[in-house]
Every structure is written in structure tokens, then in C-alpha cells.
Symmetry: C2
Amino acid sequence: MNSFHFQNPTKLLFGAGMLNQLGQEVSAYGKKVLLVYGGGSIRATGLYDRIQQQLKHIQAVVHELSGVEPNPRLSTVRKGIAICREQGIDFILAVGGGSVLDAAKAIAVGVPYNGDVWDFLMRKAEIHSALPLGTVLTLSATGSEMNGNSVITNWEENLKKSFGSLHAYPKFSILDPTLTYTVPANQTVNGIVDMMSHVFEQYFSPTTNTPLQERLCESILQTVIENGEIALASPDNYEARANLMLCGTYALNGGMISVGMQNDWATHMIEHEVSAIYDIAHAEGLSILFPNWMKYVFKERMERFVQFAVRVWGIHPEGRTEEEIALAGIQATRDFFTRIGAPSRLSELGIDAKDVDRMAKETVRFGPVGAFKPLGEADVRQIIEMSL
Amino acid sequence: MNSFHFQNPTKLLFGAGMLNQLGQEVSAYGKKVLLVYGGGSIRATGLYDRIQQQLKHIQAVVHELSGVEPNPRLSTVRKGIAICREQGIDFILAVGGGSVLDAAKAIAVGVPYNGDVWDFLMRKAEIHSALPLGTVLTLSATGSEMNGNSVITNWEENLKKSFGSLHAYPKFSILDPTLTYTVPANQTVNGIVDMMSHVFEQYFSPTTNTPLQERLCESILQTVIENGEIALASPDNYEARANLMLCGTYALNGGMISVGMQNDWATHMIEHEVSAIYDIAHAEGLSILFPNWMKYVFKERMERFVQFAVRVWGIHPEGRTEEEIALAGIQATRDFFTRIGAPSRLSELGIDAKDVDRMAKETVRFGPVGAFKPLGEADVRQIIEMSL
């Protein structure tokens, strides 16, 4: 186990009806609220009205930033920062999935900064403060509700970059599983792939002697696998939705499950370059790329892949070589993704070989990526080519 | 899964050498520090000098409260509160195991309170603020380093009571596994029993549909079982000590592993009444009582005990009834405690039947205890009698 710092101050309010505590939570931070959300779905479901009612109870003055995109854009973030400054906003309330939350975090850190927020994503400046921020989650997927990370896309430059800061942790997040009943099947699928991928990035680590952390990772994977198909078959099954929601949050809450482990994140970095050019859902890219990344790297530390196959997928080791066991686990991952309806080839999404070089080159802009097996440009190109 | 609130703001600094960051962490909170510790072990190991050096670097003015007892006493807490008030202390630094940390928390909440701190333990007053507090942990056991709980003994009235408050969470805790190398074997054993017992209190729950939380609990139990015996055989095995330290912290860090589960805590409440009369180590009482509690209650919800036996102890279910599987898991728990040298009968510690009535009566002072199976006075008496 490596040495580490860990802190996660976010308050979770989890369960059906927790939305009724929204007003009280917000009231601790001031009256002028920027409400950030995406498309019209929160209006269609009535959530928008329930939130306005909560804010009305505390006599909040509400400004709005709507239309946050699935891959949230720098231009939208800048618009939010401008509103906050013009209106003297005290508190940002993000209502939606990971994209809305990520945009809200970027706005929160951008407001008190005396420069352009993009500096933080290009590692040109450090984050020292942020407006306080709270969230109401409507999609189980990214863990953004309990971490300080944000991923923003700059379309002018086709760059998708991320930052992480203790200042960007939400003060509170309201997690009501019933709000996810109306999530379309394909987005539920994306959420499942997303949270599993987050665990993969931490679990497939070069760090050894981390038995507790490995088991915590496996616990989440097993629970997602069990509950994902139930939620897809019965979208309003409370227990399945609640289990998924908790898994999504714990899968990426500041690294709680992987303290002291070097993380990988190569597959995320490759995917960001794919979706920086093609506006596909992040999880679609991950579903395609991850099993290919696994095949490309597994021999580096085969024992972790053997353990994954046996403990997570229940592969029986008897009569098989280590390599066969590891490959059976990778195949089980691909089969599961396919069974729930996630894509397995970039060509299914209309992406061909034309931008492979550009994507590979941009992935390694800051140097080799990944820790389980550090990948250079040629490695990345091969993984993308395996995924076409 | 039940609805829940969860928040845990404590910052962990984990790993060999993290003590070097102590001064910097303390400096955020002020210059006047109350250093709280137990007996002379931190002087013998040189830890005392290293801490004084860190505090000297930041020009701290250090006052001391030493001699905190293994079951920390109300009288000691009152003494600490008096020092803080007289000296205008800014920050409390607790160096030691759970007892020292618990005493420091009670001092921290007592200082700004305009009454006697014992009110908080008798539920006569609510905690609204506290002095800031940090810890350097020297014993893996109670999880006090990352929660807001404290257990204090009032010897004048033979009462041992607890409180929990968000205000009592340490601002930071330094967890350096090398500081536990010199912990005597019997205290290492107590720590192992203590952390396993904390998981039991959460895992044996009446709440259903909590697959992730159950697995998180099992993950800790398996890891403690594997690493406990290694640490006992090789006290300076870094990895084993590190794994135990992380398990102890995660086992009781504000309920992270059991969010949405009703906890039990009956066995702890019974044990508190035993050690309120007889000054035995908390973990000795738990080692004796827990397998008997298990035997007394397991039929209430046998499936959880079957799962415990199979997943944690690797009991093969083939050819056995559910009851036989459950009992094999309970026996495995007792055998493990015995193997590492923990006691199995109160008579081993010189405790006979004379105070059984008094202990049973005091346990249920505020009503029946426990959630897995609520226990009245007669139930408690039977469990204590099984333990004589």
C-alpha cells in the first residue's frame, strides 16, 4: 500500500423524499442561487417545480443556467461564471447527471478566479477557492456528486480536459433513487458502464498489498452487475435503483475505495480524445475501449486479472491456465456490456480510422498514460485500432 | 436499504513518515495546543519528542494532559476542559489509541458548553460546537480517528456512556502504521477483536436489500482475519500493520460501510456495563460476549449468519442445514478469537455471577437494546450468564 491523503467532506442525503430537505440545506449558504440544469427532462418529470418550491420556501432569488450539454462545454461554463459575477450569486445548485454537476463545479471554481477557467483544465493555474455548490442527482453514473472532479470540453480546440480540487466537492448531494426511475434505458446502461469503468481504473493498479481496497472494488462491481440488469428490466425497482445509486457514488468518491493505490485512468484519457472529436456518450466510448485495453495490458500483471475473473465473474479456475482464466474474465466483461446493450465497436457509432493518429497523439500530449502498464502513442493507437 | 444522511469530513494522512506533516496541519488552527496522551509509552518510543519537535517548528505553546486511562474517565475529561478554559487553548492534539482520542473529543465538546460535559453522555443536552481536534493514532482498533464518537466512564456512578457528534470528528488524523510496531501483542489482539466487533454491530442488521454494504463489511472482516495473524507473528510487518490500520478506520468511520442499515450495538452496550464495574479492556469483554450474542440471536434472521459463515469464514454449505452452517460460522469466530489469544469466558478475568442482575438492568436503562433482535433485561441476563 502506498502512502496517501484522503478527505471527502460532502454530505449525502440519500433516499426517497430527501428532496424535501433541499431548502433547508441551501439556506445555510445564502439567498442568491444559480440553478444549473440540462435539457427539459427535469421540467417534464415535475422535478423542476419541486425544486423551485423548495427554493421559494427559503425566499431564494433564483437565476438559471439551462441547456448544459451531455459533454459540458467551456462556453457554457463561461456563461455560468458571467451570471454568477453579474448577479452576485451565493450558491450554485446543480440538478442533473454528471455533466451538469461537472459544469457547475467548473463554474464554482471559475467565479473567484481572476483569469479564464480553462487555465485550471490546462494545468496553468491552481484552484484556491470556489463558490459553494450543492447537487440533486438524477442519474447514477459518474460519482460527481461526491468528488471534486470535473471534465469539460473545449469545442473550439477539440480538447476535453479535467480538473480535481477539494474546493469543488459539493457541500451536499441529494440522492433520491426514485428520481432515476424515468432515466431512459440507454442512459441507465451508460451509467452502469461508467461506474464499472471507474472501478476498473482504480482496481487494475500496479500497487500490491492492498487486499481491503481490492475487495471494496470487487464489492461494487459485483453489486452493479447484479442490480444493473434488474434496474433495466424494472426501471422503478427502488432497491435496484438505490443499490446502483450508492455504487455509482462509492465508485468514485475521492478515491475512498482505492486509497494508497496508484490509479490507471489511461482508458478514460483515450476515451476523452475520442469524444472530443466525436460527440459520443463517454460511457459508449468506455464500453468499446475497456475490454480492448484489458486485452492489451493484462499480461503485465496477470494475477490481478485472474482475481478479477474468479471473484467478480465467478470463473472457475480449475483446469485452466492463468491466461485462460484472465481472458475469460475479460470476455465476461465484454459479454455483460453487450448483454445490457452497450456498444463494442467504434464503427457502430460511425467512427472510422481517419482520426486514429490524431486521437493517439493528443492522448499522450502530457506524456505516457496509465499506471498498470504505461502507454505511449503507439500503444494507444493499437488499442483504438482494436476498437474500430 | 433505509434512507440516510452521511458525512465524514476528517482528513486522513496515512503512511510511514506522515508525522512530518503534523506541524503544518496543526498550524491552520492556532498556536495554543493541548497535547493529550496516555501513559509513558509515547515517551519510551520517542514519539513524544518527535511530536514536540513538530509543534516547536510552528512555535506552538503546548500544554499537556497526560495519564488518560484505558477506559477514559470523566474526571480526566473535566481536568482537560479546565486546562483549555484557563489557558485559552485553540486546538487539541490527541496522541494514542481510542481511549485518548475519546477523552480528547469529550474535552473538545465540553469546552464551549456552558454546563457539565456529562450532560452530553446522559442525553440531557445537545452538542452545538467543539474546539478543533487532531489525532496521531498509535493503535489500530476503535476507528475513533475518523468518527465523532466517544465513550467515557463515570466511576463515581459506575456508568460508561457514549455520545456522537459531527462536531467531534477530528479535523485530521495521522495514521502511520510504523507507530503500531511496538504495540504489545495483547493490545494488537484487542484491536483486532475491536474492529471485527464494530463490523458485526453493523453487519448483523434487520435491514435487507443492502448488498453493497454487506460486501463492504465482509471485505473488512476477511482482511482483518488475514492480516491479524501476520501482524501478531511479525509485529513490524508494514503491510500487515497498514492493512489492519485501514481496516480499523474504515470499520467505524461514521457508518460509511453500513449507510442505510439499522445498526445493532447491543453487545457493545452489554460490554459497557461489564467494564463499567470491572475495569477490563473493552475488547476482552467483546471477545467473550460476541459469539454468545450470536448464538442467542442467530435464528432471528438466519440467512445473514449463513452468508457470514460462507463468505467470511469459507464454510462449505454442501450437506449442511442452514442452522449448521450458521453455527459453524459462529464457532469459527470463537475459534479465531481463541487462536489469537482473546478470552472466551468472564471467569478468566475473575468476574463471577454476583453483578449479573445489575449489569443486565443497567444495559436496558433507556429501553431494550439491539436491532437484529431487540433484547430486554432477561435476554441480556442470559447472554451474560452464557459468558460466565
